[in-house]
């Protein structure tokens, strides 16, 4: 499999062509916007928490390349129904897959269990070979992170 095919796996193209949870949510849903300053990609994350504290609804807006769009789409599917803590754990696993260590943490490859947990998202691992695309793959996650912070701070 060439690097290019490894990057653009079928499942990625599928999410790109038919993005899950595309759209907007009205307030009281929380909204966060993320920009990739390098290429102009934009992701908007709309987030609603249910009474049980889990993510009851999430919608994705904005425009971007196949990697940023599919990654956000997969993310939305993966975090729906999860608590903010669980969503953040998933984010850390995903960033591990992207070879990104959070400040002060050791870089850790995700364990097989974590990869199973990532599901479709694991298909994005080919991105690692294209460092500038890592920012595309993580844009949605960073925007989700902001939305979760906004929720926690009640802003």
């Amino acid at each position: 499999m060439s690097d290019l095919e490894d990057l653009y796996r079928e499942i990625i193209l599928d999410h790109y062509r038919s993005p899950r949870n595309s759209g907007e949510l009205e307030p009281p849903a929380h909204k966060a916007e993320g920009f990739n300053p390098l290429c102009g990609d934009e992701i908007v994350v709309y987030l609603l928490l249910g009474d049980d504290g889990t993510i009851s609804d999430i919608k994705i807006g904005g425009q971007g390349c196949s990697i940023s769009q599919s990654s956000a789409s997969m993310m939305s599917a993966a975090v729906k129904g999860k608590t903010p803590e669980q969503a953040r754990e998933l984010m850390t696993s995903f960033k591990g897959l992207m070879s990104i260590a959070e400040k002060g943490e050791e870089l850790a490859e995700p364990t097989p269990a974590e990869i199973r947990e990532l599901g479709d998202l694991a298909a994005l691992r080919g991105v690692v070979k294209f460092p500038t695309r890592i920012k595309c793959a993580t844009l949605g996650w960073n925007t989700l992170d902001e939305a979760l912070t906004a929720v926690a701070e009640g802003t």
């Binding site: 060439s2 690097d3 290019l4 990057l7 653009y8 193209l13 062509r17 390098l38 290429c39 102009g40 990609d41 934009e42 425009q63 971007g64 390349c65 196949s66 990697i67 940023s68 769009q69 294209f130 695309r133 595309c136």
Partner: protein, 412 residues
Amino acid sequence: MSPGPDFAALKKDFPILATERHGKPLVFLDSAASSQRPTQVLDAMDYSYNNAYANVHRGVYGLAEAATNAYESARLKVARFIGAPDSSEIIFTKNATESLNLVAASWGRANLGPSDAIVLTVMEHHANIVPWQMLQAEKGFEIRWIPLGDDGKLDLSNIDTLLDGAKLLSFATMSNVLGTINPVEQLVKAARKAGAVVCLDACQSVPHMPTNVADMDADFVAFSGHKMLGPSGIGVLWGRMELLEAMPPFLGGGGMISHVTTEGFMPDAVPSKFEAGTPPIVEAVGLGAAIDYLEAIGMENIRQHEIELTAYAQRTLKEKLGDAITIHGPSEPSERGGVLSIELQGVHAHDISQVLDSHGVAVRPGHHCAKPLMQELGVNATARASFYLYNDTSDVDALADALAEALSFFAI
């Protein structure tokens, strides 16, 4: 293709163009971001470092004199190259961005107040927007925008109203996204009528066509060395002497003073006043060598070559990709530079560039540091292919083939 110089033979002067990507010959189509450079330029810089290097201006020993002469000859070359009446009007900066910031921070901070207005165009590069917005936050003047019209050109129908009472008009001679060559003469005339100072962001035109700042009748002209076969790390600001003399210094430090005490300082004469600290000495030498190279070919010839290549590209891409491709900017090649911003149906610019790279073709995706223009165009990214003297029809063919591949790769 064109009479005159043998453009096909130039490629061999650029060692990087003989390298490969993924086993395919490199097809470099990103000169609008930064050009490559010929051996002659690198040789001139290595010669300087190995034979005539010392800090400039402040030494009397032979090496310092040789370095100073080399640095000042570069200033003379730049002056001649752009038709500056006086070589002291050439200020070396680190890039065009610094040149434009210099105009904003020095001329602008001294001349703009809350009741003033300046005029920009919506097709400006961030380098000609953000410095003004930063100053606006401090001084509170109005920024007016010349809008986009048809066929990737400016809409000048309200130009006199926009310029009415404005203190400055600053615009790009050529858009780095659309390739549009803006009507400098018409715009400068309108600005003069309104009594506005004129600043030109000439980053995209100086490398690609003859430039004469005196004929253009501007007050400031900014451009970068790295887009015109020169090294990274050097830019130029040309300014009209009366203005430069009246302006306060920009950065403070060694080389820009005539006297300093603990009480205060007296600035030196122009251009030293604006060249604080150790300048890009060998970068200036490299830029001088780049100018020698460009002049040997002839700027008219380069312009002609790029018009022909652009026409060929427009034709070829349309033939090969039909309705799936959109090429932004003026349709008439003589009204534009060799900068093609491309959209491909169903394929994001980022993905185009990625697939093209796997075919050895280097094009740049993104907003090209012109977000207000992108918003105007209603796109968040384009894939930009840009030409220079070392490109030829084979590069265009490779681009067309690779775009076709990208289209089929992402086809549903």
